[in-house]
C-alpha cells in the first residue's frame, strides 16, 4: 500500500476529534476562564474559574453538557478546547517547580480572550 492510500484508509477510522470549522480561539491563544458561578450542571471546575491559560488544542464541537444534563439534546454543540495553566498561577501556594502545568477541557462559552488590554481590564476588575 502506498502511503497515500494508507492515509486515505486511515481517514475512515473513527476519530477522537470532531470538526469545528468555526472556533473563536486558536492554539496558543491566551484565555481567561469566566469567573462565574451559575447553578446547574457545569463541567468547568470551580478551581479554574477566573484563571488564565493557553489553548493547548481544539477537540472539536461537542453537545453542550449543560443542556444534556437536563434531558435536552445538547444543541447547539459547543467548541471544546484543552487549556493549559501554570500550576503556580492556579495555586498561589503551589510548592512544585515553576514548570509544572495542569490541563483540562473547557467549552468556548466559558472562555474570554486574555490578551493585552482585555486581560488587564479583567485582572483589575473589582468584585
Amino acid at each position: 500500500m502506498t502511503s497515500g492510500r494508507r492515509a486515505r484508509a486511515r481517514r475512515k477510522l473513527p476519530s477522537t476529534y470532531t470538526p469545528a470549522p468555526i472556533h473563536r480561539f486558536k492554539v496558543g491563544d491566551r484565555v481567561m476562564i469566566k469567573r462565574a458561578f451559575p447553578p446547574g450542571h457545569r463541567r468547568t471546575p470551580h478551581y479554574i474559574r477566573g484563571k488564565v491559560g493557553v489553548i493547548e488544542r481544539i477537540c472539536g464541537a461537542f453537545p453542550n453538557p449543560e443542556e444534556l444534563a437536563y434531558g435536552f439534546d445538547g444543541d447547539p454543540a459547543k467548541v471544546l478546547y484543552r487549556v493549559r495553566f501554570q500550576q503556580k498561577h492556579v495555586w498561589p501556594d503551589y510548592r512544585g517547580p515553576a514548570l509544572d502545568v495542569i490541563e483540562m477541557e473547557i467549552f468556548e462559552h466559558w472562555l474570554l480572550p486574555a490578551t493585552g488590554r482585555a486581560l488587564a481590564a479583567k485582572l483589575t476588575q473589582t468584585g
Binding site: P45, Y94, G96, P97, E105
Partner: protein, 220 residues
C-alpha cells in the same frame, strides 16, 4: 459491539459517559442502594419489553472484566515497538486504537507521552471519568475524594505516595479529564526491555503506569 442489538452506551446520547456505573453493582450485604434498585428495575423493564436479554447484559459485563482491562497495555506495547504507530496514537488515540482492532465506542482518547523532561498523570476532579474501554473499571483510589482533590493541588506529594519521585527538572503535566476526552499515558520504555516481544512488554504496562501514578519497572 456494533453487531449486537444491545448497546450499553445507547442510553447516553452523543457518547456522553460522565455517570458511568457498573451495569449491575455486585452487593452481597446490606440494603440495596437507591441507584441499585433503579438499575435493577430498569434492567427488568428492558428485558420484559424485549429490548435486551439477560444474557446480553451478562456478556457485556464479561467483556468489561475480561477484555477491557488488558487493552490499554496492548495498545501501549505496540506504541513502544512501532514508533510510527506511536506517532499516530499521539495524534489521534481513537483512530490508532481502531487501526489495531481495539474499537473504542464511547471513548475519545488522548494519549500523552512521558519523556525524560515531562511526566503525565490523569485525574477527573468532577467525578471519575476514566478510559474504561482501555483499562477496565477505575480503582477505588482513583475515585476517592483524596486523590481527586490532592493530585491537582499537590501532585508531586501524591506521586511520592505511589513511590514515584520526580526530579525537579521534569515538568509535571496533570490532566483533568473533566469533559469529553479520556486519557492514557504512554510511559517511557525501560532500557532493559530491548528486544522484548509486545506480549512481554504489556506485562510491565500495568494500569497504574497508564494513569501515570507509577512508571514501568523491570522485575529484578
Amino acid at each position: 459491539m456494533s453487531d449486537t442489538t444491545f448497546d450499553y452506551y445507547a442510553r447516553r446520547k452523543h457518547d456522553h459517559d460522565h455517570d458511568d456505573h457498573a451495569p449491575v453493582a455486585g452487593q452481597d450485604s446490606g440494603p440495596a442502594s437507591e441507584y441499585e434498585i433503579m438499575s435493577r428495575a430498569m434492567q427488568e423493564l428492558l428485558e420484559a419489553k424485549g429490548v435486551v436479554t439477560a444474557d446480553e447484559i451478562r456478556r457485556r459485563m464479561e467483556i468489561f472484566e475480561e477484555d477491557f482491562p488488558y487493552r490499554g497495555s496492548r495498545v501501549i506495547a505496540r506504541a513502544w515497538t512501532d514508533s510510527a504507530f506511536k506517532a499516530r496514537l499521539l495524534a489521534d488515540g481513537k483512530a490508532a486504537c481502531a487501526e489495531m482492532g481495539v474499537e473504542l465506542e464511547a471513548t475519545r482518547l488522548i494519549a500523552v507521552e512521558n519523556t525524560p523532561d515531562v511526566h503525565n498523570v490523569i485525574v477527573c476532579t468532577l467525578c471519575s471519568c476514566y478510559p474504561r474501554e482501555l483499562l477496565g473499571m477505575p480503582p477505588t483510589w482513583y475515585k476517592s475524594d483524596n486523590y481527586r482533590a490532592r493530585v491537582v493541588r499537590e501532585p508531586r506529594s501524591v506521586l511520592k505516595e505511589f513511590g514515584t519521585v520526580l526530579p525537579d527538572h521534569v515538568t509535571l503535566r496533570v490532566h483533568d479529564s473533566n469533559a469529553d476526552m479520556r486519557y492514557v499515558v504512554v510511559p517511557m520504555r525501560p532500557r532493559e526491555t530491548k528486544g522484548w516481544s509486545e506480549d512481554r512488554l504489556a506485562e510491565i504496562l500495568t494500569r497504574d503506569t497508564l494513569v501515570g501514578v507509577t512508571v514501568p519497572r523491570v522485575p529484578a
